[in-house]
Symmetry: D2
Subunit: 348 residues, 4 copies
């Protein structure tokens, strides 16, 4: 694509990476049994088990809304509640999907300055009420990395799972950008998931370079009971499943899942570094994954828009830039230059 047209408004703006596409095309040969009873689906699931080094149950669904909502519904009854950060995607951007899939489970949103959930906030929400007039806390969900681009450390996840265990809560991880967290921490995927106490992980494929698809990974197989029925009933069972599972083979076997994520993270840091000396613009949150949230004077944002840049300002009034697997370094540098020039212009 021409460099001048690439945008960093969302990592959903990117297309599919070659590894994912090639694997999808390779799977398009001959007759294959429908609904997941095919070799590609088996292999993709095995790839995940190898990646995590355990005996997880793996399911492939169409998108993140469904992945997270179905996982939460599997952990909850309708009268249960789900503890999350007030910044969590399930709370702010799923149009009530978790409540819909679970038939009414209420989200209990903890205020959070930086988007992260803390053991203290969990404890407070989980213990504030214990009467039948309030939905019974049952699950904690954390986003890794957060919607603010922060990454929970292994110790932070462990501290959260410890309070979950103590209080009888299950721990769900919304990993829409899970690969970026792995790349950022340089750790084994198992370290920040099941070894740290996560019961169910939604591993994002779309933001990792796929055209469509997410994986739901149950580290505790007992929790996965009948999850196939749940997926089917909720419209999340692909008939030609190989097209949903094969791209994972491409991502996982080639290592592209981690490479793609590293590249996104690198671009975010590259942009941050390139404008670090500018006094007028500042990162709102530390850059730990593939996002840069920039606080900037309105004239700077206007100038960027005038130069054709697209970005969202729904968090803190700043500009969000997200870097996908396909981010062109030249274009990142172009953005850095444009920010610099816009700052100079208002200083003049």
């Amino acid at each position: 694509m021409p460099i001048s047209t690439q945008q960093f408004a969302s990592d959903n703006y990117a297309g599919a990476c070659p590894e994912a596409l090639d694997a999808m095309l390779a799977a398009n040969s001959g007759s294959a049994t429908a609904y997941g009873e095919d070799e590609w689906t088996q292999r993709a699931a095995d790839n995940f088990r190898t990646l995590f080094g355990g005996d997880a149950e793996v399911f492939f669904v169409f998108n993140g809304t469904a992945a997270n909502s179905l996982a939460l519904a599997a952990l909850c009854q309708s009268y249960h509640s789900v503890i999350c950060s007030a910044a969590a995607h399930v709370e702010t951007d799923e149009c009530g999907a978790p409540e819909f899939f679970s038939n009414g489970s209420k989200l209990l949103a903890a205020p959070s300055a930086d988007g992260k959930l803390t053991p203290e906030a969990i404890r407070q929400l989980a213990t504030s009420r214990s009467d039948i007039h309030f939905p019974k806390p049952r699950v904690v969900t954390i986003t890794q990395p957060t919607e603010t681009g922060l990454v929970y450390t292994v110790d932070e996840v462990r501290a959260i799972s410890a309070v979950c265990r103590e209080l009888g809560l299950k721990l769900h991880m919304d990993g829409a950008r899970f690969a970026h967290a792995c790349a950022s921490l340089g750790c084994d995927p198992a370290e920040i998931s099941w070894k740290a106490g996560v019961d169910v992980l939604c591993f994002g494929g779309t933001k990792n370079g796929m055209a469509v698809g997410e994986a739901v990974i149950f580290f505790d197989r007992a929790l996965a009971q009948d999850f196939d029925y749940r997926c089917k009933q909720a419209g999340q069972l692909a008939s030609k499943m190989r097209f949903l599972s094969a791209p994972w083979i491409g991502l996982l076997e080639s290592g592209a899942w981690l490479r793609n994520a590293r590249h996104g993270n690198d671009c975010a840091r590259r942009l941050a570094a390139a404008i670090a000396d500018l006094p007028d613009v500042n990162p709102i949150f530390p850059v730990e994954a593939n996002a840069l949230f920039l606080s900037a004077p309105a004239p700077v944002l206007d100038a960027l828009r005038a130069r054709g840049w697209r970005f969202y300002t729904f968090i803190g009034g700043g500009a969000r830039f997200m870097f996908a697997w396909d981010a062109q370094v030249e274009r990142v540098d172009e953005l850095a230059r444009d920010i610099r020039e816009a700052c100079l212009a208002i200083a003049a």
Copy 2:
């Protein structure tokens, strides 16, 4: 693919056709706005409006379970009921999805010898009760072609919609293989849909040659109100929507949608013709689309299985063969020969 390995157990066993794949690959270029605000999605929707010659609202969802269930949910409240044939896919093979999406709408299944729903059956079910202890009939759904491979004629659809209008019912068409009906009747898509009184059509993409995806077409725009919210909440809004919509461009602009369907229909008729003289095997239903349901003695079915053929026998104990866009004529003929030989063997 090697001819000897192709199976006709299901049209979901086929891969994606070149026209759909090429369009998907063509859409994989550069940044595109997410969630359907892209040029391909607009163009695909326009293609449908052109095809139907009207001002329909078009939505792209992941699979048929969701397409039909969301459409029915949009037409129903939880205390409503949906009239269908006892053979309808929504009744027999969706694991309660319509009830789930609508939060309880009950399906009223009319017994049917051949799978078709009749005006008389609709009237009988819709008027048998009119008290609040029974869910209020609100929608009729017909499958075109039926699960038994029959095609409703234009007059039949009109007769059904007439009774719907009279009784205040909406008419939904499950068109998982809608293209096959068009090919079979040789009629304009509009003739057996909105011009015949259909309010909402689910136009199947997967069985028409796509890797994934169906279209929900509201001919009455008022009924589509907020359907985008409904899709989002139910996990049916693709973030990288272009990959779900672009394949339609490939199918519709090239005419592959009709070509693929015709080919499937032709193969079903070809097989039927090739074995028409065999007294031991007979079509259970007339061959009007891409399916052949064959009644055959058990030894014949056993012999076919022994030769490696896969098929389902869930309707009438016969064998179902379905022909997709990719059916190889040589393989169809091979099947015919194997049936003939199996018949000769038992006659001997």
Copy 3:
């Protein structure tokens, strides 16, 4: 009430019996903790435990729709199915309530000549499908007595629970008229409930002489987990619970629960006996509880209507007469005379 105005169209036409009302009035004294934390609710639950001779969990809800639907929802996930007779009230007269409370569990209705469910029918429905495209059978529900006025014997219930155990299904009993079954069989309530393998029983209060209210009795306490939350969320937790629970004390401690039922049963048999010699009218089903379903020539039914009798004809075209705790023997005899005269008139 004047004898001439009493009707036997439904046992819901009766008022509340003195024992229930007196207990309700007696509970109307002083301050009582809300939501069931009161002495009457404790005592009523204890009364049930004494009656059944076990350690059941007991909940009080407002009506039968909710009692049965909540019990089934507690046993099911949305992708499960419930096996019942095609004549079951949950299938025919609850406006989709079981599907609503469970968020989509499908009822699998077995055709039945007399309204009863058989082990064979259960086995057939429970084993006909075992793929994820069909809701997974999870519960069997039987109505005791049936909607046709038949009573399952202890052996019949045991045979049903045996097949349930074998197939991994839970057994629910809709006991809207459970007391009438006990009166009819002359057996201990425990004999046809938990000792015969019933997991959950909905014990009807309204048809037993109460103004409002039913009891849900879990013989397996593990199944009752969080049922209090479920009741609360579903609008079935009474704030002034004593008014819902105290009437049970009146019914159970006085023995009125059985007396009322016996009286209803006696009246049904009395009517049947009084017209047994009339060749034109015949019971459609044996009279085993408090119902008489009468097949009769249309002119006889017309004549009865002309004399002011109200009755429903929704089963088999016959007339249904139901006898409640308040049925006046003189009025029963009056009905018998009117039937006789109507028969004589058409014979003339």
Copy 4:
């Protein structure tokens, strides 16, 4: 009841008032058609139409959880949202019932210092998002009086309905203690309901002196379409409806509905006046209905508990006292004396 045992912890601790009970007993005569097709139900509904001077549709349900949740479900689809105060009962004390009945409608809770919702807060919540990733605002619900015992004036309700009309939102009023608001304002019920722009009112019976039951009043009849089906499916249709409706006749025709409320309000003010001179204890909110929220030093609260007083402290750490129709003036004075003595003791 002995004065010394009466508690003011909740107005649900009270029994049923004589007018309600007598009417219920009077209705207990003879056969009555079930499910609301009886004379008492008709008369009770007519009484409401007379009271409000309009042509409202009136439904009788079992409790407030159901009344409010069903009314909201009738106004919403699952992808809609409901704007309320963070102190609203539907948000804090219904165990997710609104989400359950609506299959997922999200509550948007506005922070509020005193429990009231303001036009500004409504506007802010209703306009903060307008994309499909966030549930579409559809209804505003206010509690009259609020959970903090405050009463919206006619002008306040009008201002709220004006912003609702402007933004295309429906206005629902949770009137669990609606009578107390009427008594407090001295206004006609119509003035603070439909004439001020309220679309649907849930008129509380339980806290107004009934044993069980609430009324749902649709001032816009179009919004009541099929509400009877909705009630039936949701387990809120009483078979012996007369016992749910007749008590309203007793309350409304005798004027007890207003008398009871006035008495509760008077008692709250009486207590407030009796301790107004005590510097250590202060009302947290102005006393406008039948509640007094008292901030008091911990030793004072402990002393009250030691003397046998029961009360809740879930709002602001203060003690809540609620006065029902049966509050004994001598007992109110006893409470005042005990508070005074406790204050004196800690001052000593």
